[in-house]
Symmetry: C2
Subunit: 298 residues, 2 copies
Amino acid sequence: MNAMRGSARKLAETVWGTGSGRTRVGYLGPPGTFSEEAARRYDPRAHHVPFRDIESVVRAAEEEKIDEALVPLENSTEGPVTRTTDLLVHRTDLRIRREVVLPIHLCLVTEGGVDFDEIRVVYSHPQAIAQCREYLARRLPKAETVASLSTVSAVEDMRVFGPGTAAISSMRAAKVRHAFVREGRIEDVAGNRTRFVVLAPRDHEPTGKDKTSICFDFAADGPGTLYQALGELANRRINMLKIESRPEKSSLGRYIFLIDFEGHRTDPFVGEALDRIRERASSFKILGSYPKALDPAP
Amino acid sequence: MNAMRGSARKLAETVWGTGSGRTRVGYLGPPGTFSEEAARRYDPRAHHVPFRDIESVVRAAEEEKIDEALVPLENSTEGPVTRTTDLLVHRTDLRIRREVVLPIHLCLVTEGGVDFDEIRVVYSHPQAIAQCREYLARRLPKAETVASLSTVSAVEDMRVFGPGTAAISSMRAAKVRHAFVREGRIEDVAGNRTRFVVLAPRDHEPTGKDKTSICFDFAADGPGTLYQALGELANRRINMLKIESRPEKSSLGRYIFLIDFEGHRTDPFVGEALDRIRERASSFKILGSYPKALDPAP
């Protein structure tokens, strides 16, 4: 049986320092998660430290037990990332220092070379199962699906329950857990990717190819407030990359806006626009300026 | 063991017509899900028909096997609702006819009056487990958590594995499965709610307290395009309620914007603004006009 509590205890015992002087990058564990994959892609030579939840990764970076916290921000297959946004907006003074975009692929793994006809049960996280529904109907029409706590623990569950079982996991989880990859890229819809951000006490210096993330809300509602704020960007030819509104929990009917746009907060035009938006806003926060991630090879 | 495939088959066998002349409202099953709770709250007297996934509910409404499809749109605990948005934006001609906002509460259930000290295993959907992590650490520090495919199948898993087990489910799932509710509202963070929409061939006639949902994108990027579109709303004093951008899958770097605002598409000012936005947009779709849901009692 997979025990979240058990593995959480293991993660908490991770030794902090390595004495090697390498950067310590915390991520949402255990080893084998897409978060670990993103951390390895981000900085292959860093010391990668697993944590049991997003709050713990962020807290460790605040307490300087690690140098950087890599956390999922959008479209994750590993749980609700509204947690990350809430932390960024309301609870932490850490800034976004980098972003990492990871293509999300799933694969079918087994213990040995079992025949597909003999596979009776497939384990995975319910969301991964949902993402491979058409594949399972086509390739394993007789297998039943059983939930696991994650795409990593699915590999353990498969092993515990023995012959006639398979799991849906990532390539990385299969490798970490020494399972046999039978088919890759089995997700029904291609192009799924998760955006991670790397949080640290300071954001990134300008590189010339940067983006900036901010959030703000308005005390006075009125139809035009957001429109005027966006005008401060548009009038300076600053290209908006993303916009999102979400309800402010503490006050019904009020919204927080999250905006990403091109440029660094130290660029003169950007700084000017930020000052104007700050003047209009009731609360305002720069989440960070950082290099724009290239769209990854699939 | 919980069998997604097994229960999917059961759902598909549901008899379509009831012969009673009642409205047939399809929802994401099985009975006991938050979707069923929303469907019952929306129209208590309707015939509620469970489906195995969001695509199937929508297809049944398109084929007029049901009158209305109730599907989760935002902040669900029952899987990724980007599926609903994708269907609305790209794949269906159904319109949003109503919205339903449901407060999401979780409870701890057991088979009988077992002592908390004797509970060794707690079953639930990984997302529900994550939402009750602090509660579990406080009340059941010695129990291990095991994944189920849903908060409904968690109750079945608890039953199959017998004494010393508990499940995290909704009140409705506990009732449907005749389990014993030990503690209610055990979620760590209050105020969680899911927004559902009711899809039908036609949207709703004006009521005077309406909102309208649209989506659009632009062929020409440029900083000001969205700003100008929002200006069409702001200049007519139309109050925006929500805005979201999401990457257009087929074309990297292009975005689709989803906007909710106050008013009905047949209101003269609204109609005018929509015409102006449509002229500027490369693609444009009215998802529907419908009565604004009141914020629910918690």
